[in-house]
Every structure is written in structure tokens, then in C-alpha cells.
């Protein structure tokens, strides 16, 4: 391993990447189980101006991401309806607002005086430029997110697959939906650091989708999703170090590869 972890920036990349993969893998299982891929996509786009605002205000981009994504989650939850359910008027409105979010990001970058490099890092990730402070924020967010997810895991599965009965059994279905959106928001915020706002699906959806192809057990599903997310991140970083190809390209390719392999395995070996 000729010096993969010799440089401090690679140590930070692995530390932050692993923390992000743990949270994104666990949250991603629920994203796929609940059919909330579109919500994840929305929150990541809202994250772009957040990252830019963080840079503009000279605080960390990850703090801007956290604030904007959490605000986005509250707005989505406040709509009171499932954004993935496919309401025509609402999806048109959301599409327009998302375009505005990207436009705002552009404005903030211009005000900040940053050029294409800054935009590039927000859209496609800047894992190799992660600071010690970013690692600390990511660690705090990942631990808090995982702990919260563990605490609501069982009722969240119930509310996700069987909301009517869960409601009758006394599960706070709407409050859980809101809580999960917030977990999703912070997951998106830290994941954007690794793969950027345009590629979050690689870590937030593909591992969960792969896991749900190979198992219908909730605990195993979360474990496989986390394992895939971590493996894809580690391998992507190592390959990027040795080949000089972009991390975002490698992680998305590996993530899609994992999903394709899981899907093929399910077809070839029916349960």
C-alpha cells in the first residue's frame, strides 16, 4: 500500500468518508424502503446554496449544508404530503424551487468571489480537501444521526411499510416522517462533502437499493447497506489516489456496480 495514508489529506478523506458512509448507508436503507429517493435529491440540491453560503460567510461549507438541508427538510415535512407520491402541481412547484436553489448557489459563489473550482467542489464533492474541523463536524453529525436512527429504527420500519396499522397501534407516524426527513437532511449535508450535491445518490440510495435486492430482513438490510457504502467509499478513495481519476466518478461507478451485482444475484439466485 505505497503510502495511501501517508498524507494528512488522505487520512482526513478516509476518516470523513467512513463516517459519512456509515450514516448514509444506514439512512439510505430507509430512503429506499420508504421510496424517498426524490426527497433525498431535493435536499441535496437545497444543499448547494447552503455550501456556498457557508463559504461566503467564512464558516465551514458543511455548516451551511446542515442549515440549508435541515430547513429544506422542515419545508418538505411541512407540506404535509409525501413529495414522492407524485402530485403534479406540487412537483412542478418543487422543480422550480430546486432550480432557484441552484441559481442562489451560483449567486453566493459569485458574491464570495470564488470561481469554477468552488462550484465544482460543491457539485461533485471535494473529499480530498476536507479539513480537520470538517472531520470533527462530520463525526458529531454521524454519531448523532446513527444514534437517533437506532432509537427510532423499529417504529420507523413499521411506519414505512404499514403506516395505517402503525398509526392504529399508536406509532406517531407523522412525527417519525418528520424526524426521518431531518436525519436524511443531515445525512445529505455530510454526504455532499464526499460526492457533491449531484452525486449523493451514489452513497445515499445505491447501497440501500443493493441491500434491499439481496435481503428482506430489516437488520440485515441496514448492515449490508452500510457495508456497501463503506466499501465503495474506501475503494473509491484508494483508486482515486493511485489512478488520479475523480473520486466522484469512481464512487458512483462502484456504487452502481454494487447495485447491478445485487440485482443480478437476485435474478440468478431467487430467494
Amino acid at each position: 500500500m505505497g503510502g495511501l495514508l501517508d498524507f494528512h489529506f488522505m487520512q482526513n478523506a478516509y476518516a470523513a468518508g467512513t463516517l459519512v458512509a456509515l450514516l448514509a448507508g444506514a439512512a439510505g436503507y430507509f430512503v429506499v424502503l420508504r421510496g424517498q429517493s426524490f426527497a433525498a435529491h431535493m435536499l441535496s440540491q437545497v444543499g448547494f446554496p447552503g455550501a456556498a453560503a457557508g463559504a461566503l460567510l467564512h464558516v465551514s461549507p458543511v455548516l451551511g449544508l446542515l442549515v440549508f438541508c435541515a430547513a429544506g427538510a422542515l419545508a418538505v415535512g411541512g407540506l404535509g404530503r409525501d413529495v414522492d407520491a407524485g402530485d403534479r402541481t406540487q412537483s412542478a412547484a418543487i422543480g422550480s424551487i430546486l432550480a432557484l436553489a441552484l441559481g442562489l448557489g451560483l449567486l453566493f459563489v459569485r458574491l464570495h468571489g470564488g470561481g469554477t473550482q468552488l462550484i465544482y467542489s460543491f457539485l461533485f464533492g471535494a473529499i480530498l480537501g476536507i479539513t480537520d474541523a470538517d472531520v470533527q463536524v462530520t463525526a458529531a453529525v454521524a454519531i448523532a444521526g446513527l444514534a437517533f436512527l437506532a432509537a427510532i429504527g423499529r417504529p420507523l420500519v413499521f411506519a414505512s411499510v404499514d403506516p395505517d396499522v402503525a398509526d392504529a397501534r399508536g406509532v406517531p407516524v407523522r412525527a417519525l416522517a418528520m424526524a426521518f426527513l431531518l436525519i436524511l437532511a443531515i445525512s445529505v449535508a455530510v454526504t455532499v462533502q464526499i460526492v457533491g450535491t449531484l452525486l449523493v445518490f451514489a452513497l445515499l440510495v445505491a447501497p440501500g437499493a443493493a441491500a434491499l435486492q439481496v435481503t428482506a430482513r430489516p437488520v440485515a438490510g441496514v448492515a449490508i447497506s452500510v457495508a456497501v457504502a463503506v466499501a465503495v467509499t474506501w475503494a473509491g478513495l484508494a483508486l482515486a489516489y493511485f489512478t488520479d481519476l475523480p473520486v466522484g466518478f469512481l464512487v458512483t461507478t462502484l456504487a452502481l456496480g454494487a447495485y447491478a451485482a445485487a440485482r443480478t444475484a437476485r435474478v440468478l439466485v431467487p430467494a
Binding site: 427510532i152 423499529r154 413499521f158 396499522v165 406509532v171 428482506a216
Partner: protein
């Protein structure tokens, strides 16, 4: 006098400014098998949700086994009206059943030997052990219905509240599921309230008929309600009750799409 399973007193429900039904008084004895009939949109599902404590009353009261209704009580098992599960829903049938027991508790859904045994027992009872490890979305309509009945039963309820459990099943499965529910009612003394679109499969073992129409809820013995004149009035469209050569009653008619919204302006 038999113990009362359900006691509704002068109850009304208002949803979105519209009174769904009002002045409802209803008593159901323990271990009775009750069919709930009525046109679409008359408030049958709302009646079930009111006694689950999911929909609040605007007046009156409901008591279950002598206690005020409380959402999430183990005394009631519920099977909501629904279409089929999404074919892509990847959760094992047995896991879904177990959520009926502990899905409302915080924490991770880790395996538990005791809960596993209860899942085994209830799946055995409904005859669904063979497919407990398969994802729910891959099961047929009849298999899904057995799983959902197992889910409703696993908390050991004294009452089952079933919203159209026979809908979208073929004739054989309608028969089989009806027999299963009858068995649970008779052998374990579980009170059954069942909303039915087509009353024929359950007619042979109904103790009482509740009908919801025109903002009212009334009840009677099957022989009083399952009559040509009563049902025709209730559904607002011609319905005929015939007697077969072996003495069974059969309801024939086009009583589907009539919707009563008597309080609309």
C-alpha cells in the same frame, strides 16, 4: 347478560366540516360476529377508525370492553382497507407480523426468541407458516390477507376490526378467509367487526348486521336487515335477497357506486 365488547353512545364524527354520521348508539356483545354494510362513502371506515381511537368523536363516547377507546390498545387488532402491498416491498411476511406485536416500541428491530415463538404460533393459526420468509410484496392477495390477519391477532386482541378483508380476493380465497375469521371468532371468543362490500361470503355466520347510510348507523339481526325492502332502501338502488334451495340467503344487486353525502350543501 353477555359482557359488552363495544358500547357506542350518542356518537358523532365531523371531518372537514362535514358530519359523517351522528346520533350513533350501538352495542355489540362479546364474541359476536358483526358485519358492517353500507354504500361507499357512507362512513364505514370512519366508524372503524373511531373505535380504534384514530379518528376523534365530535360528540358522544365509545367504550371497548368497558374502557374508553385508546389508540394503540392491545385489545383491538386492525386490518385496514387497502390495495395490495407494492410488489417491490422488500420485507418478510413474518417481520410484518412481528411489527404488530412490537412495532410501536423504540429501538432496533433485533431478533427475539420469545417474539419469534409468538410469530410462529400465530402464523400456524392462520395457516401462513409456509411463506413467512418470503417478501410480503411477492405473496398473492389471499396469502397477504392471512399475513395481515396474523399481524392483527399477534397482540392477543379481544376484538378484530377488519376493513374489507375479502376485497380483491377470488371466490375460493373469500371462502377460506371467511372461514378463518369465523373460526377465530367462535373458537377464541374474539369479537369480529367486519366491513364487507359483498356480504354473501360471510352471511352464513353473521350474528348481527350494522348498516351505515345517510348519516346514521343502525343495527339489527341478519333476518331483519338482509331483506329485499330493507337493503333496497339502505342502498337507494334495487337489491334482491333470494333464498337458495339449501336455505342460504344470497344478496343480489347493483349496490356499488351509490354514495350518500346527505350533509353536503
Amino acid at each position: 347478560m353477555q359482557e359488552l365488547a363495544l358500547e357506542i353512545t350518542n356518537a358523532a364524527v365531523r371531518l372537514g366540516g362535514r358530519t359523517v354520521w351522528s346520533g350513533v348508539d350501538l352495542r355489540v356483545g362479546s364474541s359476536e360476529f358483526v358485519a358492517i354494510l353500507g354504500p361507499n362513502g357512507a362512513g364505514k371506515s370512519t366508524l372503524l377508525k373511531a373505535l380504534l381511537g384514530v379518528v376523534p368523536l365530535s360528540e358522544g363516547s365509545i367504550r371497548l370492553f368497558g374502557k374508553p377507546v385508546r389508540r394503540g390498545t392491545d385489545a383491538v387488532g386492525y386490518l385496514p382497507q387497502r390495495r395490495r402491498f407494492d410488489p417491490d416491498l422488500r420485507i418478510r411476511a413474518g417481520d410484518l407480523v412481528r411489527l404488530g406485536l412490537d412495532g410501536d416500541r423504540w429501538g432496533l428491530p433485533l431478533p427475539s426468541a420469545e417474539h419469534g415463538r409468538r410469530v410462529d404460533a400465530v402464523l400456524q393459526m392462520v395457516g401462513a407458516s409456509a411463506y413467512r420468509h418470503r417478501p410480503i410484496g411477492e405473496l398473492s392477495g389471499g396469502e397477504q390477507q392471512r399475513i395481515l390477519i396474523a399481524q392483527a391477532l399477534i397482540s392477543g386482541p379481544r376484538m378484530l376490526v377488519l376493513d374489507e378483508p375479502l376485497e380483491s380476493l377470488d371466490l375460493n380465497n373469500q371462502q377460506a378467509i371467511s372461514e378463518l375469521i369465523r373460526g377465530i371468532c367462535r373458537e377464541q371468543g374474539v369479537t369480529v367487526l367486519l366491513v364487507a362490500h359483498d356480504v354473501n361470503p360471510i352471511l352464513p355466520f353473521v350474528d348481527r348486521v350494522v348498516y351505515v347510510a345517510g348519516g346514521r348507523v343502525l343495527s339489527g339481526a341478519p333476518q331483519e336487515v338482509i331483506r329485499t325492502d330493507t337493503l333496497t332502501r339502505l342502498y337507494g338502488t334495487p337489491v334482491e335477497v333470494l333464498r337458495t334451495s339449501d336455505g342460504r340467503l344470497v344478496v343480489v344487486g347493483q349496490y356499488e357506486p351509490v354514495s350518500h353525502h346527505p350533509h353536503d350543501h
